[in-house]
């Protein structure tokens, strides 16, 4: 017998210990998110999954589901907050989709489509961090990082390599790699690492396959994010 809570008025079953996000995802319900991934510990940084739980703002990925909770997600107020968060991310980095190989498979872009973000609204920050093409198989464009630390977790907890970390503070935060030169080629990173495919945006890109699937036929070209079945939302696994 499972407990239930209400998500936008609909009953969602959960097992004790599950977060609101985990329970919603298991029930096939979509709550927008960028830094959350079912295979990793909740990070709680992007704040896209901000919901109202019994009236209070909280992140669905960090709060445990509890019987009788009332969770609001699909409201105009929250959609508005989420769009603003997306716009903040878009102006903070260099998210110029027409030149990005990740376009169409990008969780940031797809979430912005789903939430109807039409412009970046704020003034751009125009970050200027050198790309790292040193590795034979993988390219890093640090200007697209949204600080989700999924690569940090994947490299540390699954690959056992600690290739990535965030450095700096505040708006100077940025991704770094584990070498004196700061070059990926001098780390133990390999294209077969989980960290190589985990990036939800276009920071970690495999070389030579960028356009193997043409624009227009990519994950979120076919179906909007969230309409895609919950267990296939995360596209980091190699296409079968």
């Amino acid at each position: 017998m499972k407990d239930t809570f209400l998500l936008d008025g609909e009953e969602v079953a959960f097992t004790p210990g599950q977060t609101v996000m985990q329970a919603a995802t298991a029930a096939g319900k979509y709550i927008p998110h960028l830094c959350w991934h079912p295979d990793f510990a909740a990070h709680g940084s992007c704040k896209l999954c901000t919901v109202r739980i019994d009236g209070r703002l909280a992140t669905a990925c960090t709060v445990r589901a509890a019987a009788g909770q009332s969770v609001e997600s699909e409201t105009e107020e929250l959609a508005d907050k989420r769009r603003t968060l997306l716009q903040l991310l878009f102006v903070e980095g260099n998210h110029f989709c027409p030149s990005c190989e990740k376009s169409g498979d990008c969780v940031l872009q797809a979430t912005a489509y789903r939430l109807g973000m039409l412009s970046p609204h704020f003034d751009h920050f125009y970050p200027d961090r050198a790309v790292d093409a040193s590795h034979p198989d993988v390219l890093l464009d640090f200007n697209r990082c949204i600080m989700c630390e999924l690569c940090v977790q994947a490299s540390r907890d699954i690959d056992g390599k600690d290739v990535f970390a965030l450095s700096g503070r505040g708006t100077r935060s940025h991704l770094i790699v584990n070498s004196v030169s700061g070059q990926l080629a001098e780390t133990r990173f390999a294209a077969s690492d989980r960290a190589a495919t985990i990036c939800p945006v276009g920071v970690i890109l495999r070389k030579r396959v960028g356009f193997a699937v043409p624009i227009g036929k990519r994950t979120y070209d076919r179906e909007p994010i969230g309409a895609v079945r919950a267990d296939t939302v995360h596209t980091d696994k190699e296409p079968g």
């Binding site: 110029f96 989709c97 027409p98 376009s103 912005a112 489509y113 412009s119």
Partner: protein, 180 residues
């Protein structure tokens, strides 16, 4: 139905790709022309805006002339629309923003390969000066609507314009809202 709506269009720091996409609405252009007449636009070759209902701006703001034209549109258009990726976020031209425009001019006109001896940075007052950085149009004037895409597809433009003409808040469904 009262008279036609007046629409002006222009390409600032753009590639005219968005205008090509507008033309790509093909025979629907005829339907559109039943509802609108074009004022200042590459389609009419009218050089300055008169008061308009809708202004469509393609391209970002990369030089002084872009600023003047954008202001003319803002002053004359009831509704100003940023059309396409470059107008919305600066686009490809804005990828120069991490570089120093002075060094770029130096390289292009003075130190680059194959230049004639004595080449200099042009100083003709007829030429607009480039800005230090390329800006999306909303960083320079107030913009009412945004239609992203590189370019926005003909279907997206058609749907958007129809909504606007009918006085509805434009809404782009899946496949029409694209940033690339």
């Amino acid at each position: 139905m009262a008279g036609k709506l007046k629409v002006s269009t222009v390409s600032l720091a753009g590639c005219f790709g968005c205008h090509m996409s507008l033309l790509d609405i093909d025979e629907r252009l005829l339907t559109l022309l039943e509802r609108v007449e074009f004022d200042r636009s590459p389609i009419t070759d009218i050089k300055h805006c008169s008061p308009c209902d809708i202004g469509l701006i393609e391209g970002g703001v990369c030089n002084a002339e872009n600023v003047h034209v954008l202001r003319e549109f803002r002053a004359n258009c009831k509704v100003l629309v940023a059309l396409g990726a470059c107008a919305v976020n600066g686009g490809l031209p804005a990828q120069r923003n991490a570089l120093d425009v002075g060094e770029i001019l130096q390289m292009v006109y003075r130190t680059g390969h194959g230049l004639a001896p004595g080449s200099a940075v042009p100083d003709d007052p007829e030429l607009p000066l480039p800005l230090n950085q390329v800006h999306p149009v909303h960083e320079v004037v107030r913009i009412d609507y945004f239609l992203p895409g590189c370019p926005p597809s003909a279907d997206a433009i058609w749907s958007f314009l129809n909504d606007l003409i009918e006085g509805r808040a434009p809404r782009l469904g899946h496949g029409l809202l694209q940033y690339d």
